[in-house]
Amino acid sequence: MIKVSVNGIEQTFDGDPSMPLLWYLRDILGLTGTKFGCGMALCGACTVHKDGTAIRSCITPMSAAAGSKIRTIEDVGANGLHPVQSAWMEVNVPQCGYCQSGQIMQAIALLKSKPHPTDQDIEEGMAGNICRCGTYQRIRAAIKLAAEKSA
């Protein structure tokens, strides 16, 4: 029996402990804001926070999530928009939007460690998150805007 906190709610899981957290969130808890893109930690669409750190849920087995606090995109905007989300809207970042939950979770983690990121910080911090529509220029601008606003 695996115990895990998801968005502040204690959950228990008694299935295969090698099941990735992504599929537990999506198919079992019904939290579909976190996306499946590659299954190999190559695209970042599945990014969530584990004890405050951005992780790829598609390669994180439930056994490794046991006992941790998981936060997903659903919780980020639960009590009003997060400043990163507001910046995303202001810059009009998304096209199809499928990767943006992961981008936003990654950006929040980046800004936590680097509140005033340089272009290079942004490139290094965000290079694991693919956007096939090509919204990178606006992602960069939105991260800078969010940093400015929280300064």
Partner: protein, 756 residues
């Protein structure tokens, strides 16, 4: 910004005033009468008290429902077309709710592909909006007992200025619903100066949901009692299952059963590929179960396909005389007579390309009581109806296709093989089935953009300008998925930047040779324009460099003076648009080339070693685009793209901010094609599988700054989703040459051997 109305308006203002000037087909939609039973899948618009046509409905509280019948995959078309309707009916956008249409022929074409949604439905949306406004005005005039001509509208209300009276649209809905829907000739339209939204635009209707994880994609669709399925497809196109052993698969936690999926009957079209399906309680268990299947395949006729051998054969074919698709003067005679340094030739090559939208293929289907209910991220719900109908043996009308948001499409999701899989499995197991493709499935079982070989040959005069120009392309055509014997390019795809090579030269021969397909070929964002634009625009740059001429000045010299290209006796489908409404005007191509040169500061930017600028211009999907790309290449051969400039003449642009975003995205899409875009095959098996071996551009590889200059125009609206890719690809490669002296003739860079 320069205004080029003199070359582009061509009677369009008359069209704007009367509407219908560039309607491609009669799509004036019938009213849906009150009191009719409301079938499943009907929209809120249909159920509203006032619903003059299938696209709009008005509630008594003033809520306006507008139907989006096109698919939303990131272009904001679900916003922009309803915005056009809202503008023409003078609705307040904040009181508009958008309904996503099911697949239904009453909406007209729904295939969201080919960058034609605005062009094909701009007039329809205006007519539908004007029709609603007409009824609301009549209702108010009757109530006030004044002539309708004395009434006008402001957002969401009819006003009678003389008496200072005003009634909201909601208050008028019930009375307006009693009136007859007006005929087209009774309608009046706003003048462009009166537009509140058209040309100004709005951000996506779904923006907040897209930023909060609340947007529902196909991957997120749910149905009571559904089971998940993952399918092991034949590794070689056309292969079949000879036998399989399910024992170990069934032992996997969560796996319920396995099922054989029948192979397609050629031609493949949109039928399921066949294979073995594993059904499970969740997606991951289904994936795990697949790994435990033991399948013996019969790989069939394509088992010998080797993409390296194929490339050689393709380029050999490109050197042989082929079918002439357009000819000016006598290029072959001029070329035969030429020799020595005045003769220039080059081969160009682009491999198979995969779409790789962020959301892999996925679909949910329930077959019950002779009816199929679908939830799918599809670009073409009517094609879903057609294939599900034929696979299940039920009428098309019994297929209800609900369209979710799409996590990217790029043309892949116009081809509903994956939806048919879900429907077939649901019928077999008697419960809703959600088919989930892995990324590996997506990369290995795509409808790839065609591999293309091209051969160019020119003779040049003392100034380096061609006196004769031959271009010959060879590629397996998209038509091969519908006709197994198809080997030549079909006119609509040859028309994509090949038949219409626009240069003003005395001798031109445009040819196409045969190539057989060994995988499914399909359209990908910009389609044949990708390779055609690359070949023509890079060969042009080669000639310019060879003549020591400025590439921009040289390009303008070849385009020649502004003129309308004559396609008499040439099969040139022009993207399905009439040449009268959308002529091929070289003046517009010139103009965007000059504009991008001006805006990018081309004249003052001289390329040096390690830092280069490239230019290209291309018309596709009726839109004229020129691009300047700046690159930096360091000693390790690492390439960065500090800046990209696009000048765009797409005629009337309904939503400029969204249009800019499409071109920013096109530059990134093109970056992926040039840097790493390549699908290869050995023994008929695709060699790539995920983003490690089919990489796409990341934030550190993409252009850092893309500027988009939109030409203000009242010419009929053209497309904006695709036209940015082709000139970007060529300009990027031309910039690499300018920085390094290395000519990229074979894509991608990662396989070119040019950079480490």
């Amino acid at each position: 910004m320069k205004n080029i109305e003199n070359v582009s308006r061509r009677g369009f203002l008359k069209g704007v005033a009367s509407a219908g000037a560039f309607v491609l087909a009669v799509r004036y939609v019938p009213p849906v009468f009150a009191g009719e039973p409301v079938p499943v899948g009907q929209t809120e618009a249909d159920r509203a008290p006032l619903h003059p046509n299938v696209f709009v409905g008005i509630e008594t509280d003033g809520t306006v429902h507008i139907v989006a019948h096109r698919s939303e995959m990131g272009t904001a078309i679900r916003t922009t077309l309803p915005l056009v309707l809202a503008d023409e009916m003078d609705a307040d956008w904040d009181r508009v709710k958008i309904d996503q249409a099911i697949g239904d022929k009453r909406y007209g074409d729904q295939n969201t592909d080919g960058s034609h949604s605005i062009r094909s439905f701009f007039d329809t949306m205006r007519e539908c909006g004007a029709s609603a406004r007409w009824m609301l005005v009549q209702a108010a005039a009757q109530q006030w007992n004044v002539p309708a001509s004395e009434c006008s509208t402001e957002p969401h209300a009819v006003v009678h200025a003389k008496s200072g009276r005003k009634l909201g649209y909601g208050e008028l809905a019930t009375a307006a619903a009693k009136l007859d829907v007006p005929k087209k000739d009774q309608l009046t339209f706003k003048k462009p100066a009166e537009w509140r939204y058209i040309g100004k635009g709005k951000t996506s209707y779904d923006l907040e949901k897209l930023c909060t994880g609340k947007a529902i994609y196909g991957m997120d669709a749910k149905m009571e009692g559904m089971i998940y399925a993952s399918i092991e497809h034949p590794p070689v196109y056309g292969g079949i299952v000879r036998s399989y052993d399910e024992q170990d698969a069934l032992k996997v936690w969560g796996v319920r059963q396995t099922l054989l999926v029948d192979p397609f009957k050629p031609p493949a079209a949109f039928q399921p590929l066949g294979g073995v399906a594993v059904l499970a309680d969740n997606s991951w268990s289904a994936f795990q179960g697949r790994k435990k299947l033991k399948i013996t395949w019969d790989n069939g006729a394509n088992a010998g396909y080797d993409s390296a051998e194929y490339k050689k054969a393709l380029l050999e074919t490109a050197r042989k005389p082929a079918k002439v698709v357009r000819s000016v003067g006598d290029a072959n005679a001029a070329l035969a007579a030429a020799s020595g340094p005045s003769l220039v030739e080059a081969e160009y090559y682009v491999p198979l390309l995969a779409h790789a939208p962020m959301e892999p293929m996925v679909a949910l289907a329930e077959f019950k009581d002779g009816k199929a209910t679908i939830w799918a991220p599809t670009q073409n719900p009517q094609a879903v109806q057609a294939i599900v109908s034929s696979e299940l043996g039920i009428p098309k009308e019994s297929v209800i296709c609900n369209v979710t948001l799409l996590g990217g499409g790029f043309g892949r999701k116009s081809k509903p093989d994956y939806v048919a899989e879900a429907a077939v499995l649901s019928k077999k197991v008697g419960r809703p089935v959600k088919v989930v493709w892995t990324r590996e499935d997506d990369v290995k079982f795509d409808y790839y953009n065609a591999v293309a070989g091209m051969y160019f040959r020119a003779t040049v005069d003392a100034k380096g300008k061609p006196t004769a120009w031959l271009q010959r392309s060879v590629f397996p055509p998209i038509t091969s998925i519908f006709d197994v014997n198809a080997v030549y390019g079909d006119p609509p795809h040859l028309a994509q930047g090949w038949t219409d090579m626009p240069y003003d030269l005395p001798n031109i021969s445009i040819e196409n040779g045969p190539a057989k397909a060994h995988v499914r070929i399909g359209w990908l964002r910009s389609v044949a324009n990708i390779y055609h634009g690359f070949g023509v625009q890079c060969f042009t740059d080669e000639l310019a460099q060879r003549a020591h001429r400025d590439p921009c000045e040289y390009l303008l010299d070849l385009i020649g003076p502004g003129r309308t290209i004559d396609f008499k006796n040439v099969e040139y489908p022009n993207y399905g648009a009439s040449l009268e409404t959308y002529p091929w005007e070289t003046g517009r191509l010139r103009h965007v080339t000059e504009l991008v040169a001006e805006k990018s500061g081309w004249a003052n930017k001289k390329s040096v070693k390690g830092h280069g600028f490239g230019i290209a211009a291309h018309r596709s999907f009726l839109t004229y685009v020129a691009t300047v790309v700046e690159v930096e290449v360091n000693d390790q051969g690492e390439i960065r793209i500090p800046r990209v400039d696009f000048a765009v003449d797409a005629g009337l642009v309904a939503n400029p901010e969204i249009t800019r975003a499409q071109f920013e995205g096109a530059a990134v899409f093109g970056t992926s094609i040039v840097r790493t875009g390549e699908i290869t095959a050995k023994n008929g098996v695709i060699q790539q599988s995920n983003f490690h071996d089919y990489p796409v551009a990341r934030i550190n590889e993409a252009p850092q700054q893309t500027n988009v200059y939109i030409v203000e125009s009242f010419a009929p609206p053209a497309g904006v989703g695709e036209p940015g890719v082709p000139p970007f690809v060529a300009a990027f490669c031309n910039a690499i040459y300018a920085a390094t002296g290395k000519r990229v003739r074979s894509l991608p860079l990662s396989s070119s051997g040019l950079f480490g």
